[in-house]
């Protein structure tokens, strides 16, 4: 499966990319995060505390145990601070 992965705010800065395309067999968001963490230190650092990471699947907020089947766009970002 091919996913478009987006990073925002300090996740984008730590990873050093705003977006990338990955091919993965990860079944859930948590599986994908485990794969990313294993890649390089900057990923491990960005995902070191999942309590301060939020995820959206195809632009809807989701949980880390959500399945990735059928998903095209995954976004990772810190808790929102708008308004």
């Amino acid at each position: 499966m091919t996913l478009e992965i987006l990073y925002f705010a300090w996740l984008r800065e730590r990873i050093g990319l705003p977006r990338e395309t990955v091919t993965t067999e990860a079944a859930t968001v948590a599986d994908l995060v485990a794969e990313l963490r294993a890649r390089e230190d900057r990923y491990a650092l960005a995902f070191s505390d999942l309590a301060s990471v939020r995820v959206a699947l195809d632009q809807d907020l989701a949980e880390f145990d959500a399945p990735l089947a059928g998903v095209r766009e995954v976004a990772f970002f810190p808790p929102m601070t708008g308004g």
Partner: protein
């Protein structure tokens, strides 16, 4: 329902008047305007990042939920992104209803949800440092008010 996400400034007075005059038969309009604070005088600029596409989608969902919960003639959300100086207006919401209780509750609700559920992130620049604003526990807790 009017949602606008833009980099350019907006004219708060003109938008408030246009929104109010555009609603027929209403009795109450509540407007909120968020402004870049300069707490100790040290803040030089604020930068807002957002998630194009999801932002508009999340704001529309929040506005639709407000319209389900209260009787609204209309609502408006304008939110800027990009770089802003202290004193600049970041965003506004406006709600119109026959009665003031609905207009107040809906505007308050829109703000609470927008703060914690719309994909905006603030970064503050002061002196040589640039720091992402941390989400406040109080903002997340505020959502509990709405059941």
């Amino acid at each position: 329902m009017q949602i606008r996400v833009q980099e350019t400034p907006f004219d708060y007075g003109a938008e408030s008047a246009r929104f109010t005059d555009g609603c027929n038969g209403i009795g109450a309009v509540v407007t909120f305007c968020g402004i870049v604070r300069n707490d100790g005088g040290a803040l030089q600029a604020m930068e807002i990042e957002h998630y194009p596409g999801m932002t508009e989608r999340a704001l529309a969902q929040i506005a639709e939920e407000a319209a389900r919960r209260w009787t609204l003639a209309d609502c408006l959300i304008i939110h800027r992104f990009g770089r802003m100086a202290p004193g600049e207006k970041i965003m506004m919401v406006a709600t119109a209803s026959a009665h003031r209780a609905d207009a107040f509750a809906a505007a308050d609700f829109l703000m609470d949800y927008l703060k914690s559920r719309a994909p905006f992130w603030k970064k503050e620049f002061s002196g040589d440092s640039a720091e992402w604003v941390a989400a406040k526990d109080a903002d997340e807790a505020a959502l509990g008010r709405w059941g």
